[in-house]
């Protein structure tokens, strides 16, 4: 199979206006991926499927990813000359950079005909609030049908061109998207007998004083003797 760079170049040659960038995967698996611009994504995907050399006729997996807004704090060490002529002091100068978050859909494409490995393509939305539409790949690979509905249900990415975009796992009247990082699950509180760490903080909101520890003395509970 060709390397990702060759595929990117052929894609750029074939679709001059499109934006295709290589995304490096720093992990040990080293599975790098191609970030496709949303505009020409459908034609490029159809090309990937129908190109005789690639024949990526099987979309194994479609995943949603949520990258919330990030506050990147870079600390640079500066040596500031002390006006009073003293020794130059090292001052960390923090620059805050605000990176806008986005929602991402990752597709793992395989070729069953030529039996070669995953070509991973990614689509990114404008931002996490209003521009959340991406082109749907269901008309090209029907296996994305349920998976894209699941991404819509759990992440909120609206897939344009999907034949039947409805919630698949949550009930239809459910408003929020549970898999987003900033999702707050409803506080359906029930007395937690063994609360600690995160559960304890949430439980505290319901009773001022932490619950009295369960009674120490051996209560004659009907538990089974071995």
């Amino acid at each position: 199979m060709e390397s990702l760079e060759q595929i990117r170049d052929r894609l750029l040659a074939r679709f001059p206006g499109a934006s295709v960038t290589l995304v490096i995967n720093p992990g040990a698996a080293a599975e790098h991926s191609l970030l496709l611009g949303a505009a020409h994504a459908v034609e490029m995907a159809r090309f990937l499927r129908d190109d005789p050399a690639l024949q990526l006729d099987y979309c194994s997996n479609a995943t949603g990813l949520d990258w919330p807004d990030k506050e990147i704090v870079e600390t640079k060490k500066l040596s500031v000359a002390d006006p009073a002529g003293g020794p130059a002091k090292i001052v960390e100068e923090k620059t805050k950079r605000f990176e806008p978050g986005y929602l991402e859909a990752v597709y793992h494409l395989y070729s069953m005909a030529l039996r070669h490995g995953p070509v991973i393509i990614r689509l990114r939305t404008g931002n996490r609030t209003d521009q959340v539409t991406l082109p749907s790949f269901t008309p090209i690979w029907r296996s994305c049908d349920f998976q894209e509905r699941e991404i819509f249900d759990l992440f909120g990415i609206v897939f344009a061109g999907h034949p039947d975009l409805r919630r698949i796992l949550m009930w239809d009247e459910f408003k929020d998207h549970p898999m987003r990082k900033d999702y707050v699950d409803p506080d359906d509180y029930e007395w937690e007998p063994t609360p600690h760490d995160r559960v304890l903080e949430r439980a505290k909101a319901h009773y001022p004083v932490p619950p009295p520890a369960p009674a120490a003395p051996v209560s004659p509970t009907p538990e089974a003797k071995p």
Binding site: A29, S60, L65, H108
Partner: protein, 395 residues
């Protein structure tokens, strides 16, 4: 209903809800269409799965699957638990084959962290995976005959064999179905020689049960009448719809992740992959039976040359396991199809994104296309032949 208007893209379901009815009402005697909701409490939907079926008398005109009754958002829980903490939860995904799901998860994490696995552990993983394949396929075959209408006899014969294998799992890992056996970099418990002897004895006379099963049912005229030509799945449509596993091979398409990826030590074993020709329910049933015979061959080879040595990679860390930032997609051939785990790590002990590629959910994509034009009794059998487990479908 000629074959053309049965193609996936203009079935009423695929074309939004108000699609053209597949069968136009022509003469007065045809009554109005009857909308029936089969499930989520229905004896033959293998769990809380619901099919909203539109009927014209007996013939199915439209079928809309409804999921989500067993959805517990396994992936969000995994994001708040450590890598090791999610391992027991993977048993609860496809609760019939916990070992293969454990292995798929361990494979993905080892790929993410670049973790090596000793030889003996690889062999043990193959032994456990093939034993689970026997468990799952005997379960499926039993339930398929239950849907076909026998009063539990083939199911109880299949369960009699399945129980023996589950007893082996219990004596090794401590629990029959929730084994929690694999770790990142190897296995948790080293089987004793007695266990290995008992397992190979069981595997040697497993074909005797299969022969008895085949003489009883494979040639049965009613079985042939009820399953041959029912729920035909075309290979090209199946590939496009991402159908994998025995359902795809029943349509004659040779794609088995064990052969294609060659993960674990599968290339060291010689076994064959059965292929169907017609892609109907009968072929899907036979795929499972023939795959059980192949699994017995693999197991015999594995027991013969199981190497000695450690079962856990010395560098593997039990707690405080922090893979470097990055992502990995590991896939294995689970008895139901291609089971994959896509993990994104950001260096913390909890995965940043934990995605399960559910073979059973994606195998249901073409359920409607297979059921159009058949009767309700057939739709129950077609659903049974696809072999779904709701733990994995709804996650």
């Amino acid at each position: 209903m000629s074959a053309a208007d049965l193609s996936p893209f203009n079935s009423p379901f695929a074309a939004g809800t108000a699609g053209p009815s597949v069968r136009a009402v022509k003469d007065p005697f045809h009554g109005d269409l009857l909308e029936v909701s089969m499930g989520p409490q229905h004896p033959s939907t293998h769990g809380v799965f619901r099919m909203v079926v539109t009927l014209d008398g007996e013939i199915i005109v439209k079928l809309k699957p409804v999921f989500g009754y067993l959805h517990r958002n396994h992936e969000k829980i995994a994001e708040n638990t450590s890598y090791l903490g999610s391992m027991p939860y993977t048993d609860r995904l496809d609760y019939l084959c916990s070992m293969t799901t454990n292995w798929a998860y361990a494979l993905a994490v080892e790929k993410l962290a670049g973790q090596a696995v000793p030889d003996r552990a690889q062999y043990l993983r193959i032994i456990m995976a093939e034993l689970t394949r026997l468990v799952n396929h005997s379960c499926l075959v039993g339930f398929l005959f239950n849907d076909l209408g026998t009063s539990f006899t083939p199911l109880l014969y299949a369960f009699r064999e399945r129980e023996k294998i589950l007893d082996l799992f219990e004596s090794l890992t401590g629990s029959r179905m929730m084994c929690n056996y694999q770790r990142f970099g190897g296995c948790r418990v080293d089987p004793t020689p007695e266990w290995l002897a008992a397992a190979s004895r069981l595997v040697d006379n497993f074909p005797r049960f299969l022969d008895e099963y085949e003489t009883m049912l494979t040639g049965n005229e009613i079985m042939l009448a009820r399953t041959q030509g029912v729920g035909v799945l075309d290979a090209a449509k199946a590939v496009n719809a991402g159908i994998t596993g025995p359902c795809l091979r029943a349509s004659g398409y040779n794609y088995d992740v064990r052969k294609v990826d060659g993960y674990g030590f599968y290339p060291r074993f010689d076994f064959r992959v059965p292929l169907g020709a017609h892609g109907d329910t009968y072929d899907r049933y036979m795929m499972r039976v023939l795959e059980m015979r192949e699994s017995v061959k693999i197991l015999q080879q594995a027991f013969r040359d199981l190497p000695a040595g450690p079962i856990m990679d010395p560098k593997s860390k039990l707690r405080g396991f922090r893979p470097k930032a990055g992502e990995a997609y590991g896939r294995t051939e689970s008895p139901k199809g291609e089971l994959g785990f896509f993990l994104v790590s950001d260096g913390s002990p909890n995965p940043y994104r934990y995605r399960v590629r559910p073979p059973t959910l994606i195998n249901l994509t073409l359920l409607e296309d297979m059921c159009l034009g058949h009767t309700i009794a057939d739709s129950v059998v077609i659903l049974g032949s696809i072999d779904i487990v709701l733990g994995e479908v709804d996650r």
